[in-house]
């Protein structure tokens, strides 16, 4: 129960900090093009890695 709360608080920081960073940077900062390119690719990589090979483990468990 205590560890659940700790995990949620830590997770809330890991989502709040990326969202807040640009608010603190102000309007003038522009990230390098290469960094933007890499960030654009992150959602695809994350979904792919979440699906495989974890899905094998789940399917195996339920068949």
């Amino acid at each position: 129960m205590r560890s659940d709360l700790l995990l949620i608080l830590a997770l809330s920081l890991s989502t709040a900090l990326p969202r807040l960073l640009p608010a603190f940077l102000g309007d003038r900062f522009r990230p390098p093009e290469a960094f933007r390119r890499w960030l654009d690719a992150v959602p695809f990589a994350a979904l792919g890695a979440l699906i495989f090979p974890g899905i094998l483990w789940r399917i195996h468990l339920h068949l």
Partner: protein, 236 residues
């Protein structure tokens, strides 16, 4: 609040409607699946309230279910959410908010969906400070309320169905990935590359760190692929 700000807020709230319709079923299934992952109902609600990230929350559940230690879960979710840096860098200058507190409030509510709605909405009153607050409030409320209802409903659902819900998690990931890579070869290559890295990294790393490595290196594949097209750039 001045009259026009109130009007913008209402327009923003109205614009959140399609996002709310999209969020409610996903939030509800998050509540259901969190029960299977061993989280108490209040934890599912609290997570949606203050973590507020779709794929990241499901990823956290999935990793919790595998017994992944906390630092690995937090790192994976952090990397999944770095994209919000870019989104807010693109969005906030358009609003030109002078108050840091107000700018932070808007920034905290941005998601992939509210970002897309704000920039692509036909109603330009949405892309104002009050409009964004309305849009974000609508989306955020539906997310945590849907999660709470799902978590309460989970107690009423038989155990076997809860197990099936855990498998559903993969259906959700695939359901997010397939439309995203449709017509985008590079997205598919990056996703498949991340799968390969994940499989290889699991031989030497704990599953959570393997996931982090797969996200970092898989996304790095973007530099080996041809330059992206103009339409993708326009999205930001």
């Amino acid at each position: 609040m001045p009259q026009s700000a109130f009007h913008h807020f209402r327009q923003g709230l109205k614009a959140s409607f399609p996002v709310v319709v999209g969020y409610l079923p996903i939030a509800f299934s998050f509540g259901l699946v969190s029960h299977e992952g061993g989280l108490p109902w209040w934890a599912a609600g609290l997570m949606s309230l203050i973590v507020y990230t779709g794929a990241g929350q499901f990823a956290a559940l999935s990793m919790l279910g595998m017994g992944t230690p906390m630092p690995e879960i937090v790192a994976a979710v952090l990397f999944m959410n770095l994209r919000h840096i870019v989104m807010n860098l693109a969005l906030l200058p358009k609003l030109a908010i002078r108050s840091l507190g107000l700018r932070s409030l808007v920034a905290l509510g941005v998601t992939d969906e509210t970002f897309a709605v704000s920039l692509f909405s036909a109603d330009e009153e949405v892309l104002t400070t009050a409009g964004m607050l309305g849009l974000n409030l609508g989306a955020w409320s539906s997310w945590w309320m849907g999660s709470l209802v799902g978590a309460w409903a989970a107690g009423l659902v038989p155990k076997g169905l809860n197990d099936a819900m855990a498998v559903m998690l993969y259906g959700l990931f695939i359901g997010l990935l397939v439309p995203a890579v449709r017509g985008k070869g590079r997205g598919l290559v990056i996703a498949l590359g991340a799968m390969a890295v994940n499989l290889a990294a699991r031989q030497v790393l704990a599953p959570g760190w393997a996931l982090v490595a797969a996200i970092l290196l898989g996304a790095g594949l973007t530099f080996l692929l041809p330059e992206k097209t103009e339409e993708a750039k326009d999205a930001l």
